[in-house]
């Protein structure tokens, strides 16, 4: 046997499952430089541009009448579409995870549709459905209910785009959890609603919050689909992302970036909350895995 096989004689050995220090540094370096260039730099630029003429100018731009209306509309749209998608998401995830039925695979595919389709197409679909040359549009208009180029259209387009977030977040978790806890609750005498409220909902609460958070971020930030159906009536159907574009096209850079930094702030808050949730929710997931 050659003496080099003796582990004591061997030179310093590194953990065979990791890379050498040089490789590690290079990989880390590439990732960090890329992130800085593509993500961090633009983010800093947004805030820098907004504050170029001082915080007073930025505040003035944000409190402009049309901008305030855009902020209000954005909040309204999120306040309608997020709860609706929350209810839909829970219902769909519940159905998919806990029951067997015909067309289940189709439903899962359908939920994913908004992810795979371009938002512009999502908007165009509503133009086709409710436009002047459609069947529904003129009828609804005659009743005095305008969908296209009005708030309902903006809400519909946003709901379409943010459809999958909650359901997608819940389905894998609920599938992993199975129906054991629900059966236990039923056998203890709880009815369907009590079982949902006391057992199912607490089991999914963190994932649900996480899904709502992502859904909300997207609802407030959606541009493409909303841009098609909104018609850009200032102060009426313009949301924050649209307002930013309008201001930018009018060369009001400071105003555009001031509103943009509001959206960016929202993104940052979302990220922080998301990390907090992941920390908590990961903990809970580990606990539930240990249980099985």
């Amino acid at each position: 046997m050659p003496s080099s096989a003796n582990p004591l004689a061997a030179p310093r050995m590194r953990d065979p499952t990791t890379e050498g220090p040089l490789t590690r540094r290079v990989l880390l370096g590439i990732a960090l430089i890329f992130l800085a260039l593509v993500l961090l730099l633009p983010l800093v630029a947004v805030f820098a541009e907004a504050l170029r003429n001082g915080i007073g100018t930025a505040l003035l731009a944000v409190t402009d009448r049309d901008t305030l209306a855009a902020i209000r509309l954005t909040l309204l749209v999120a306040a309608i579409s997020v709860p609706l998608n929350l209810v839909f998401g829970v219902a769909a995830a519940w159905a998919i995870a806990k029951f067997e039925f015909r067309g289940k695979a189709f439903l899962i595919t359908l939920i994913d549709l908004p992810f795979s389709v371009s938002p512009v197409i999502a908007g165009l679909v509503y133009v086709l459905l409710f436009g002047a040359s459609s069947v529904l549009g003129p009828y609804l208009s005659a009743q005095g209910f305008h969908v296209l180029f009005a708030v309902p259209g903006v809400v519909l387009a946003t709901i379409f785009v943010t459809f999958p977030f909650v359901a997608r977040e819940l389905i894998p978790l609920m599938q992993a959890q199975g129906t054991g806890d629900e059966e236990a609750a039923l056998s203890l005498g709880a009815d369907g609603w009590q079982t949902f409220w006391h057992v199912t909902l607490p089991n999914i609460r963190w994932a649900l919050l996480y899904g709502v958070l992502l859904c909300n971020a997207r609802a407030m930030g959606e541009f493409g689909a909303v841009s098609v159906v909104s018609g850009r009536l200032r102060g009426e159907t313009v949301t924050m992302p649209l307002q930013i574009e309008i201001l930018y096209n009018e060369y009001s850079f400071v105003a555009a970036f001031a509103v943009a930094s509001l959206l960016a702030l929202l993104a940052l808050v979302t990220l922080v909350l998301k990390s907090l949730l992941e920390w908590h929710y990961g903990h809970e997931l580990a606990a539930s895995n240990g249980r099985r």
């Binding site: 609750a185 056998s187 005498g189 009590q194």
Partner: protein
């Protein structure tokens, strides 16, 4: 509460899981449903609980037709293999859950629920753990909490689905005795499912052996172990050697040679001989006996387990002989079962 299962069948998407099963369970009895996976034992338990609806047949609780009742109305205590404790509730909240969800008219006050939970924790020997969460407990403790939770609703029947299946061997043994104690103290009619014959035989008043959606045999543990009514039951309830033989004129033959076992009243034809590996005696060659070639042998504690090929080399048999017996060194061993069961071809 006595439970009567009458001709119950269950199909899942046209796949039959249970065929016309009938079983009477006396009040206060501790019954084991024993069988391999896929034998329908868990399905039967879930049918009693109301977690499944039978395709045919009826289940009575006393004189009441329970199969028309929902799981909530049946008031059964169900204990799951993986505990199914509510992980966001404390131990006390878990145990009190069944009382908390009662309609206002029959719901005890909060302090009473809490008191009941503590009482039940005493019963399952976990006093003082009221405010722990399930993930802070060991597997054995969790299963005790699950049982306390099931007992809290004062169930008419207690049902346990492989209650010790997820626990390690040591804890299993301990909990077995403990469950027997609890049963004797509380007197609930109890049905538990297991695939572990030792567990069933040690714990139950009566054992129901199931296979392929049918009940093979129902009896007290001794009866099932000593007088299994089919080769399947014989093989399932304990270590077994099973050998196809022929019967001719009241004698059992293996490859046309008598093996020194009377066939009793079995008619001429093929039959199946079954015996326990420890119920054999080694004999000198020349006497009528089963002769086999040693394939493998291993020492297990005080005995040597010898694997033999007999009956034309196709059948593997296992026998146990004392370690100091001279036969342990031979390559061919002749032996005769001291006790055995002989099964004629069942008219099917």
């Amino acid at each position: 509460m006595d439970v009567r299962i009458s001709n119950v069948g269950k199909e899942f998407e046209r796949f039959p899981a249970l065929h016309g099963v009938s079983l009477d369970i006396a009040s206060g009895e501790l019954i084991a449903l024993l069988g391999p996976s896929g034998s329908g034992k868990t399905t039967l338990l879930r049918l009693i609980a109301g977690l499944e609806i039978p395709t045919e047949g009826t289940i009575f609780f006393g004189d009441e037709d329970a199969s028309r009742r929902t799981v909530q109305e049946r008031n059964v205590g169900f204990v799951f293999q993986h505990y199914a404790l509510f992980r966001h509730m404390t131990v006390a909240e878990n145990i009190g859950f069944g009382l908390k969800v009662r309609p206002r008219a029959t719901r005890p006050p909060k302090s009473e629920i809490r008191r009941r939970a503590s009482e039940l924790l005493d019963l399952v020997q976990l006093s003082g753990l009221e405010d722990r969460f399930p993930n802070q407990l060991s597997g054995g403790q969790r299963q005790r909490v699950a049982l306390a939770r099931a007992l809290a609703i004062e169930p008419r029947v207690l049902l346990l689905d492989e209650p010790f299946g997820a626990l390690d061997a040591q804890v299993r043994k301990e909990l077995r005795r403990w469950l027997r104690d609890i049963h004797d103290k509380t007197g609930h009619t109890t049905v538990f499912v297991t695939h572990d014959q030792e567990e069933a035989l040690e714990l139950a008043d009566r054992v129901v052996v199931m296979s392929q959606g049918r009940i093979e045999q129902v009896g007290e543990p001794d009866e099932v172990y000593d007088r299994p009514n089919s080769p399947f039951v014989f093989g399932f309830v304990g270590p077994a050697s099973i050998l196809p033989v022929t019967v001719e004129d009241g004698e059992v033959l293996l490859q046309d040679r008598p093996i020194g076992i009377p066939a009793g009243e079995l008619p001429t034809g093929t039959a199946i001989l079954a015996f326990r590996p420890h119920d054999v005696e080694v004999v000198e060659s020349g006497e009528p006996a089963i002769v086999g070639t040693v394939v493998a042998s291993r020492r297990i504690g005080g005995v040597r387990e010898v694997e033999l090929e007999a009956g034309g080399g196709r059948e593997r048999l296992e026998i146990e002989i004392p370690v100091d017996h001279p036969a342990t060194a031979r390559s061919r061993v002749a032996f005769r079962p001291k006790r055995w069961r002989l099964y004629g071809d069942r008219p099917s």
